[in-house]
């Protein structure tokens, strides 16, 4: 009992001290707005490229887009100038921001926007927004992106977390504090041998670059990372729709007179229709119904037999030969639907 009393006393004191120090250290007033603090700088090079190239078709997606579609080849095959915003590690929050802060505000608006997605990722707003993914979000966000903060962050928090984020500086600033802790732990030791942060990061990128990874282990790891997309909650399209960025993406496309095309890619976890769970089938049917109702085109390649396993480098990403095959397939599918 004595230990509990002493512990409570010291903890209360430490919380008090941190509650005074942290707001000063990070220049944040408490109680603060729930959610992360976003900076106001938007990476505008994408918009500059769209304007310069006068892109008629803009593609948005993650590394699957980068490794599946050759924008130059697609331009030649379709006759429509195509530009790719392929951001490895991105997901629906970043795609929504690309639509809102890059495309919708662009002085030159593309006629069509194509979003490359897999399975339930379009209605998973909290997927890939924390940790280092946050940088991707922050690069395309404004400080006043309220919908982003609401759907990607606040909505994912429990009421207790929301309370702590608002009133407890130690919790509210935990990401930044953790970054500092990690920084000292990682870089102090190697700096003793003359390797600074840049040298350290280069070493990290060189040792752990994709070609050095065991492909079988990578497949397992991807499956684990993606398992979030296949939980019962995520597979319930009607429950997730209003929480997601999809209705807003659709609205912005309509408002800006942009044709929206959703391209569902294939992956080897469920390469055939029979390998796909009933819940996922139901989800995709609902998504297609919703898209049809809203004038959105869905091109579904998830079970296309032309994409054979030998065209993949892992469960999700295509090889250069696969990129060639898929770009041609996509151009064929796009020709009848694409507005020129």
């Amino acid at each position: 009992m004595r230990l509990l009393a002493r512990y409570s006393l010291i903890l209360a004191l430490l919380l008090l001290v941190t509650s005074v120090y942290i707001p000063i250290r990070y220049d944040t007033a408490y109680p603060k707005q729930v959610g992360p603090k976003l900076n106001n700088r938007i990476k505008m090079n994408y918009q500059d490229d769209i304007v310069r190239e006068k892109a008629g078709l803009v593609m948005i997606g993650d590394s699957v887009l980068v490794l599946s579609i050759d924008a130059n080849q697609l331009t030649k095959l379709t006759g429509v100038q195509t530009y790719s915003i392929g951001i490895p590690g991105s997901a629906s929050a970043v795609w929504y921001l690309a639509m809102k802060n890059i495309i919708a505000t662009s002085p030159y608006k593309p006629r069509s926007v194509l979003i490359v997605f897999r399975d339930t990722i379009l209605t998973a707003p909290g997927y890939r927004v924390n940790g280092k993914y946050f940088t991707l979000v922050d690069e395309l966000a404004n400080t006043d992106d309220k919908l982003l903060i609401q759907k990607a962050f606040i909505q994912q928090m429990s009421p207790l977390e929301q309370w702590a984020d608002r009133y407890l500086p130690l919790f509210g600033s935990r990401l930044r504090i953790r970054e500092s802790v990690d920084y000292y732990i990682r870089y102090t030791f190697s700096s003793l041998v003359g390797c600074d942060q840049q040298c350290n990061d280069n070493a990290n990128n060189a040792v752990f670059q994709g070609v050095n990874l065991d492909s079988n282990l990578l497949v397992d790891a991807i499956a684990t990372a993606e398992s979030y997309l296949y939980t019962p909650d995520q597979l319930d399209f009607s429950a997730q729709l209003d929480n997601s960025f999809l209705p807003e993406i659709v609205r912005m496309a309509k408002e800006n007179n942009i044709q929206l095309i959703l391209v569902r890619t294939k992956h080897l976890d469920s390469p055939t229709e029979s390998a796909e769970s009933a819940a996922l089938k139901g989800y995709i049917t609902s998504l297609k119904t919703y898209a049809k109702k809203n004038g959105v085109t869905v091109l579904d390649f998830a079970h296309d037999e032309r994409l054979t396993p030998d065209l993949f480098v892992d469960s999700h990403h295509l090889s250069p030969a696969g990129t060639d095959v898929f770009t041609k397939m996509l151009s064929e599918a796009l020709k009848p639907v694409l507005i020129k």
Binding site: L3, R6, S63, R174, A206
Partner: protein, 467 residues
């Protein structure tokens, strides 16, 4: 439902309130049993069917044993076949089905159904051992069967223990379930340090170190030194992770008025493999010792025709092999188990059994260093993606490849030192200061601060970031 989720915190809080409100022992047990079923069936309700049916079977068989002593052996065999059959089926089906399907297709027989993966019901390995110890002790006559079904079902599905133990023996838990329990502040005072420490070890140490270990293990051809630091990392990760679960489990059990078994007693300070297993996953070690090692040894000693080396070597080898198989379906686990069996035998041959008492600090240090190195190598076997990979680490991969490799090794080492310091500090505090000292209070307050920082902040170095 994970111990570290908010859902669990709400669930546990609600159960605690109802449990202490009902006061009457029989109702308290019902509350805990229902809570156990909700906890266990939260994600996959069908797991409850397996748990419920196997509980009813063992309850009935144990009663049958006491009433029909002549049939006791038959009842024991039924229980062993069913329990071990279910365990083997769920745990090893996926290991064998692919190979079996390939063999069938070689003979022109195609059976796609074989390729369907079967999920292992969570905690099956743990509650099966609890039930087996109950049945075997009933058969041996060292335990009387429980007449009250609720008490027995609660012993099997006690929610703080059902997923990952400790594998408490019926003699430890059943008497506690049979007596009235009234709330005492002692329950809270013994629970909170365990819970705080458990959360800290899991969320701050284990989860952080995991990302580093996973990164190195996923490399096609890492250098030996990189693998060595990853093995050290896994040594820290598995202790922090598993002992965290046990701590939280014991803390929660304590809040309900139960005293459950310790599972880890500074295992990495061991100087012999036998000592290591007396300090690591103690409840499993005790199970293996009492139900496999001793009976086997007794049986072999009775057979006077067998050579003495065989009588000495077979029990540890077989016991540790079973331990390896129990830990998982894969060659790495099997070899890991066998490795410890061989180590125990080698130490026996060298005349070292149990604890190794040496005179002089240097000798003690060297004995510890040798055992710690063997433990680290054991964890490398355990964590390796395959035995072939371990072979390459030992004989093919270079010691170091580039300067960049060296930098990464330094980074990992600095992280290992930083994240093992809190455990070392706790060890020293426990050794040199009384349990309720100010130093302990400061320590727990500081780790709570770190817990708040690390909780739900996502791993900043997520391995598949680029995907």
């Amino acid at each position: 439902m994970s111990f570290t989720s908010l859902t669990f915190a709400v669930f546990c809080g609600a159960v605690l309130v109802v449990y202490w409100l009902v006061q009457k022992k029989s109702w308290q047990n019902v509350v805990l049993l229902v809570a156990g079923f909700i906890f266990y069936g939260w994600i996959h309700p069908w797991y409850l069917l397996l748990l419920g049916l196997s509980t009813i079977l063992d309850y009935t068989l144990a009663l049958g044993m006491s009433r029909l002593r002549r049939r006791a052996r038959a009842f024991l065999i039924i229980s062993l076949v069913v329990n071990l059959g279910v365990l083997v089926f769920f745990k090893y089906y996926n290991f064998f089905n692919t190979a079996l399907a390939a063999r069938l297709s070689f003979f022109g027989l195609n059976n796609d159904a074989l390729l369907v993966s079967i999920a292992l019901p969570a905690g099956l390995s743990f509650y099966t051992l609890k039930k087996l110890s109950y049945i075997i002790d009933n058969y041996r006559g060292t335990l009387k069967p429980v007449e009250n079904f609720v008490d027995f079902a609660l012993y099997v599905s006690f929610f703080p223990q059902i997923i990952s133990g400790p594998i408490d023996r019926p003699q430890k838990l059943l008497p506690q379930m049979a007596v009235p329990r009234r709330w005492k502040m002692d329950f809270l005072t013994s629970a909170w340090p365990l819970i705080v420490m458990g959360f800290f070890k899991k969320l701050v140490i284990a989860d952080t170190i995991k990302s580093i270990v996973d990164r190195v293990i996923s490399l096609q051809s890492p250098s030996r030194l990189l693998v060595l630091v990853a093995a050290l990392g896994f040594t820290l990760q598995i202790l922090a992770d598993f002992s965290a679960y046990t701590d939280i489990s014991r803390g929660i059990a304590s809040l309900f008025g139960f005293d459950t078994s310790e599972n880890f007693r500074t295992p990495y300070l061991s100087k012999t493999p036998s000592e290591f297993w007396n300090r690591w996953h103690i409840t499993l070690s005790n199970f293996l010792r009492d139900y496999i090692f001793f009976p086997l040894r007794r049986t072999l000693l009775r057979k006077r025709t067998l050579p003495s080396w065989f009588v000495a070597a077979a029990p540890p080898l077989l016991t540790m092999l079973v331990s390896g198989i129990w830990h998982g379906a894969g060659w790495t686990y099997l070899v890991w188990g066998l490795y410890y069996g061989v180590l125990i035998v080698v130490y026996q041959i060298a005349g070292v059994q149990g604890e190794w008492k040496l005179s002089g600090k240097l000798k003690n240090f060297l004995a510890w260093l040798l055992m710690f190195s063997l433990v680290v190598f054991g964890w490398l076997l355990f964590r390796a993606p395959s035995i072939a990979w371990v072979g390459k680490v030992l004989f093919v991969f270079p010691w170091i490849t580039t300067n960049q490799d060296f930098i990464i090794i330094l980074v990992i080492l600095s992280m290992l030192i930083a994240y093992s310091l809190p455990l070392l500090a706790k060890l020293l505090l426990d050794r040199y200061f009384p349990a309720n000292s100010w130093w302990h209070a400061i320590y727990f307050a500081l780790i709570t601060l770190f817990l708040i920082i690390y909780i739900n902040s996502s791993n900043p170095d997520f391995i598949y970031f680029q995907f």
